[in-house]
Amino acid sequence: MKVASFGRAAAILSVASLALVACNGDDTENGDDNGTDENDTVDTDNGDDTDAEETDEDNGEASGDMDYSSLSGDLSGSGASSFQLAIQEWALEFPNLTAGVNVDYDAVGSGDGRANFLNGADSFAGSDALMSDEEFAQSQERCGENGAFHLPTAILPIAVGVNLEGVDSLVLDGETIAQIFAGEITSWDDEAIASLNDGVDLPDTAITVVHRQDSSGTTENFTDYLNQATDTWTWEADSEWPGEVSAETGDGSSGVISAAQSVDGAITYVDAQQAEDGGLTLVELEIGGETSAPSAEAAAQAVASSELRGGQAENDMGFELARATDEPGAYPIVQVAYTIWCNEYDSAEEAELAAGFAHYITSAEAQQIAADVAGAAPLNDDLISQAHEAISQISG
């Protein structure tokens, strides 16, 4: 008798456990909520009470130096983890310039961030990829008929990093990189590599390719480069690595770095600053007889010489990056992390806050902070004034 009842109890338990075990995903770290105490004095609820006097003032002067000192309230965003470092620093600095603004950024991934933004849960999104046309159509429901626009916020060079004992500088060209990542070149002393590296003593270690296993903007930008700039790589640009040429993987940027470091002869692609901090040898890219290392300047140059994609909002600043450049010394393996903003917010206050923070993060000062903490390439003056022009369109 007891057995039957115990069995039944176990049966219920086991069914109940399904619900539990199935949702064991990884938690993303929250952006830190700093300076919450300062805000308590002013009661600003983004939704309802609109003060008529504040409505128009700031939109006019958005392109010049902006005065943030009257801003207060909460601003929330979510999305890509690529500029988490930078945005955390900005969220710490920005409240000091204002009457108490609390910025909250949740690094949930680009796709989730865009979804949170489009359904109105957040005031802005961080994204490594541009909105699709469907998403732009959705944004017209949330943000008025002009929809939402992309703002280039951080330009990050992607490095090809190598862990090879005895080799501390290496030159590769696009075609060779593609052949390595496609598994066609399998040994470090291969003729194709040796011919680019005169005087470097290359060992006959086997090449271990390490790539991202999670879907990521870095993979999308890197495969876009390989696809555009080389003949070997026939797969379309995608945030997921093609399964046919899968090798070793790591989870996230830190994952690929630790995987690459655990085996001699590893090669991977990762955010340049993190690759350098992680102790990988950064590959210099050879184009037209000249080589260039991944650097902020080269990355900014690559973006500046690219065209805007167009086709969405009028003030949209989404770039169509030109990867297949043969300009000597260029470094086209870059990733642009965007923030996405509404052209029209539900309330004047939300608009004012959003415009203020958008303006701040694209200012020369904030870009310098991003360069210091995240190795991002600062936007040049042209891009900054273009961005501030775009931000001035934000209305409430």
Binding site: K2, G7, A11, A19, V21, G111, T208, S215, E240, G243
Partner: protein, 336 residues
């Protein structure tokens, strides 16, 4: 003898009940409380069903986009060809984990209930239960940094003697052991980690049920001249079979749904037959890796949700089969 004693016990249990029942029905407040508690318990039971129903509805509703797109019509074939490697990977990893974990868990439970001196058995029981409290991310890190490198020599050996050597000498090697093990981060390592993770669940369920084996059965077996092992075979196992199966199914459920440890331990994407080189994936891993970056409402997003539905169905099917086995064996359990 046996029937006698159970009868008297049953009578004893029954006899005080009557006056108690009379007392309760006379006490209005007590009866109200009793009904209230019955209602509460019922509500809790229904609540579970409602949650389960909502999960099922959410998954089914959002899976439609993976099977049907307006411009292309039905695309079930495309979804199936995308989903089957993950479904297969999930089941293979979980079954490997069970094959490795369940016998050890049952042996541990047996040791604690029947072999260990009483003092030691308590301590060991606590330690086993402690294993269940370790978060899966810790198991993942252990699998990735400690277990995987340690397994590499074994993988080289397996690859050499089960694939390369027979391939060269007999013309055919076992494809499950083909390829280079690389960092040792593969689904075989993952199933070893999972085996350790499901060990405490299975062993604590089994331990509880082994302890409940009627002393009379055990003593009867010993009195007939059975050794301790024969006694366990004759008295403990038949009695405990439904409990063992329940425990194993509980472990299987955990193994099927485990995400974090598999994400960390397995390297590589894409399907292949080899279980000792990087590649292959499970459903929870595929969802966890791609959900955050995928735009909501796209076909890819629907595919990932539909994968979740596939896992849901697999787990449900596994549990129903287990229930069926338990019910079939009930009459032979020796408890009646």
């Amino acid at each position: 003898m046996t029937t006698d004693s159970t009868d008297t016990r049953a009578q004893r249990r029954k006899s005080p009940k009557k006056p108690e029942n009379a007392l309760v029905s006379a006490d209005r407040a007590g009866a109200g409380l009793d009904r209230g508690f019955a209602g509460l318990a019922k509500a809790a039971g229904i609540f579970i069903l409602i949650i389960l129903a909502f999960v099922a509805i959410f998954l089914s509703w959002n899976s439609v986009g993976a099977l049907y797109q307006e411009e292309e019509g039905l695309i079930i074939g495309r979804f199936l060809s995308y989903a089957w490697p993950f479904a297969l990977g999930t089941v293979v990893v979980a079954i490997l984990a069970l094959i490795m974990g369940a016998p050890i868990a049952i042996a541990v439970a047996l040791y604690i209930s029947h072999y260990a001196p009483p003092k030691a058995s308590k301590t060991i029981g606590y330690i086993i239960d402690l294993l269940a409290a370790i978060p899966s991310v810790v198991y993942g890190a252990w699998g990735m940094f400690v277990l995987a490198p340690a397994m590499v020599p074994l993988y080289h050996w397996l690859s050499q003697w089960l694939y390369t050597w027979p391939e060269e000498n007999l013309g055919w090697g076992i494809p499950f052991f083909a390829g280079s093990p690389g960092l040792g981060q593969n689904i075989f390592t993952a199933s070893v980690v999972l085996a350790v993770m499901i060990l405490p669940i299975i062993s604590s369920v089994c331990r509880e049920i082994f302890i409940q084996t009627p002393k009379l059965h055990e003593e009867a077996a010993l009195a007939l001249g059975a050794t301790r092992w024969e006694m366990i075979k004759m008295a403990v196992f038949p009695f405990a079979r439904p409990g063992i199966i329940s425990g194993v199914m509980l472990g299987l459920g955990r193994a099927l749904g485990e995400t974090m440890a598999v994400v960390m331990v397995v390297s590589g994407l894409g399907f292949q037959l080899s279980i000792i080189s990087p590649g292959n994936s499970t459903i929870p891993r595929e969802i966890a890796l791609n959900f955050g970056e995928t735009g909501h409402g796209t076909e890819r997003w629907h595919q990932l949700v539909a994968l979740g539905l596939v896992l849901f169905v697999i787990t449900l099917a596994v549990n129903m089969v287990a229930r069926w086995i338990v019910s079939r064996h009930k009459e032979f359990s020796g408890a009646n």
